[in-house]
Subunit: 468 residues, 2 copies
């Protein structure tokens, strides 16, 4: 049987980062990836004009220092997200344009959103991001949905509409599908609501020349034969001194394992012995978001001629967010759009043609009749991807953080957990994935380098045998 | 390769019922069961006194006609749940006794519980149990947790304490972990709150001589070689005209498949092609409840001497429900107890000895010092069971019914779904499991008997290929 020090399950940013760190420190590593590509929830797609467009995660912000450092280390360059021209809001049947720096809301609603933002950020500031379940009000905040909090907090329809757009825009789920505690954790993890929302200097500040997936590809190139594609892992047999990882192409023994998958997918592997009750139940209740991302190629970025940025948010249309997604130095124009949360679920059962028609209709509403004449339409339903089963990430509904928080990243014997859902900083983003990979690699390096070399790092917490 | 008409995955009550129905109608069936026993969430355990005690589901009520008919058909007999003597309530540090027919609450709290029961049952009465998501207020009711509804509905502490006991007692989860819509559906599915709570003429009316698992064992006996134990299914390859089911011991081809597992476990199988997005996402968000059931054997049912029924509910102790569980014609006495919801999660990480000490301490508080001297202590943590991963059933948090309801039982090509979570009547109970088995068998018999014999019954709703 093949034998290494560490098997990493999953060649997304988290798994590849962990693998690279461990290889750098002299460990023998094998990365097993189910797909025939690396990159996980980032994915590039070649358009007919020769440019590659991002079908998954794509934006970077200045405080996302870990992923930016990784990109730079591999010689990759960023460029600013297009941010010139007026932005738009679709509501009450109208599409209204606003100056680039103006709030898209009425003064009353903007003030109300500002007030609620202040309240939320004050609550969020009390959280320890490494253990949000330990906050003094954690039980209270985890006991209600963000939607219920919101309904009690304001009756301004426009402000409510804003938040009901904001939540799917960051979770690909609805306000009633995340707990208030999770909402607070998530905004604090990313540095605040303005940071999450922002383009310039925010989470959508810049893009990578060639596409975000190039980071994973560069990592994989540097790892060479360490990364094995088309090898879905299905079973992990584990003991105090090591594990056997079984995949479709064979089996590998290792002293440690990193499972670098979202919790929902990690729960679908078989473990022998079976995982402890709390870890298992955690994986039953961190569902992935629902999002279908589209990229539409046009002859030119015609919206710019009209002084438009290409950025529209809609409080009432199924394609609730649209944005200029023209690649670096492209002579063409690209609009990206997102069906999120309930909208994604509704259109996911339609035919491609029907869904395309809805998307194009929305873009024509936002940007005029030229938007109805695309060169190409590309889409990716992340819920249909067998090895992602949703994006942007796993969300925590009521009660999950407080009941199962520690189980998110605490190792089970020789098995360690990575993935952006386990990150304290920039949870849910590419940067969080990279941070989680570093953290898992640090755990394993410490364990394999300790005098008790090979003994489990974390306490093994299997269920106690009962008297039966 | 072995070939049958129908493979049934899982030999719980749902799977065995479906198998028996299909065999009766002349189909060739194979049931593949992961465990080395049948019965799923029912399980008998032999005590040292020669009596078998139920470690899982055990009670029957008069409206649970399908499971009772099945038991009777196999010559099994029921006997009344012990219901004589005073009942008790532990609250505010005291254990208070009440007459058997008296409410255990103060008059004010009893009136408030009555008022809320009326409100809830009036709402529940508007639901179509086959499609609770279609109710006119479904979005509203699915958008909040039962806990949030409750907090807005009353500020009577004792009434709140009652509901916060009631919810774990039926869901093994907390009030903030189920949506109001799910709560309403569930109480309507079982015939109302009094029915769910009740002993005589209620859901805890009677037991089966020898234990509830005997129904599954009798079904399995009658099916003979049709049932294969120790054969965990891991993969279902399916096409329009049939499927190949792979298990640890081999593979079987079939024209139809019944997956008779709770949604959380059904989601852990591999499907090729992968399941449609909505069906997959459903399985990510119907987590199993958390319950550790104990049975404590005593020399005699000493509590009866003191005029006690043996039935205690506690608003403040970890073992929140205790009940006389003495088997039919036993000369000894047995008390059953339940750690549920948050309590189960908290004690699940303790050692057996520590958990046993907590349980016995609670029983001694309720029933006196004799309770501290048991002959035997038995427990079963259903969350630790690899092939159940929780009890009593899968619960629906906010947003799940309205986003994914139809996917619960709608076939995907040749794959049909059974299990108590798919039942309209007595969902979550043994009776619901049996009903779901009949329903799945009916679907398949109709499909295999139709002129388009072998063609899929339901529309195949795979994700449409995208333009990429």
């Amino acid at each position: 049987m093949e034998s290494v020090d560490v098997v990493v399950v999953g060649a997304g940013l988290a798994g590849l980062t962990a693998a690279a760190d461990l290889v750098d420190r002299g460990h023998r590593v094998l990365v097993l990836e189910a797909r025939d590509r690396v990159g996980g929830r980032t994915a590039g797609k070649l358009m007919s004009d020769g440019h590659t467009i991002e079908m998954g995660g794509q934006w970077f912000g200045p405080t996302q220092t870990e992923v930016l450092a990784l990109a730079e280390a591999h010689g990759l360059k960023t460029y600013p997200q297009h941010d010139e021209g007026d932005q738009q809001l679709a509501w009450n049947g109208k599409v209204t344009r606003f100056g680039n720096d103006d709030p898209r809301l009425s003064p009353e609603a903007a003030a109300e959103v500002g007030r609620l933002t202040g309240e939320l950020e004050a609550m969020a500031a009390t959280l320890d991001l490494e253990q949000p379940w330990s906050a003094s009000q954690a039980d209270e905040w985890d006991g209600i949905t963000f939607g219920s909090w919101l309904r009690a907090a304001t009756d301004n329809d426009e402000a409510l509409a804003f938040w009901r757009l904001f939540v799917p825009a960051i979770f690909a789920a609805e306000a009633h599908e995340v707990s208030l505690l999770h909402f607070l954790f998530y905004i604090a993890s990313g540095g605040g609501i303005a940071m999450l929302l922002g383009t310039r200097d925010g989470a959508q500040d810049c893009r990578l020349v060639g596409g975000s997936h190039l980071i994973s590809e560069a990592l994989a190139d540097s790892l060479g034969a360490v990364v094995r594609l088309g090898s879905p892992v299905h079973t992990i047999e584990h003991a105090a001194d090591g594990a056997i990882v079984r995949h479709d192409g064979g089996e590998v023994s290792a002293r440690r394992v990193v499972v670098a998958l979202a919790p929902a997918l990690a729960g679908r592997l078989r473990y022998a012995p079976a995982l402890p009750p709390l870890r298992d139940q955690l994986t039953q209740q961190v569902p992935m978001g629902s999002v279908i991302k589209i990229n539409v190629l046009y002859e030119r970025p015609f919206w710019r001629d009209a002084g438009l940025k290409g950025s529209t948010m809609s409080f009432e249309d199924p394609l609730s967010v649209a944005v200029d997604n023209t690649p670096f130095e492209s002579e063409h124009g690209v609009l990206a759009g997102f069906f999120e949360g309930v909208h994604a679920r509704r259109v996911s059962t339609l035919t491609l043609e029907a869904r395309r028609a809805i998307a194009i209709e929305c873009l024509a509403k936002y940007f005029g009749s030229e938007a109805a004449e695309p060169l190409e339409y590309h889409e990716m339903d992340w819920s249909a991807e067998e090895y992602s089963r949703g994006c942007y990430g796993g969300r925590f509904g009521t009660g999950v953080w407080t009941a199962y928080g520690p189980q998110l990243s605490e190792p089970v014997g020789v098995i360690h957990w990575a993935g952006t859902e386990t990150a304290a900083i920039w949870n849910g983003y590419m940067d969080g994935a990279v941070r989680s990979g570093h953290r898992a690699a640090d755990e394993i390096h410490a364990a394999l380098s300790s005098p008790t070399n090979g003994r489990p790092l974390g306490a093994v917490r299997f269920g106690q045998p009962s008297a039966r």
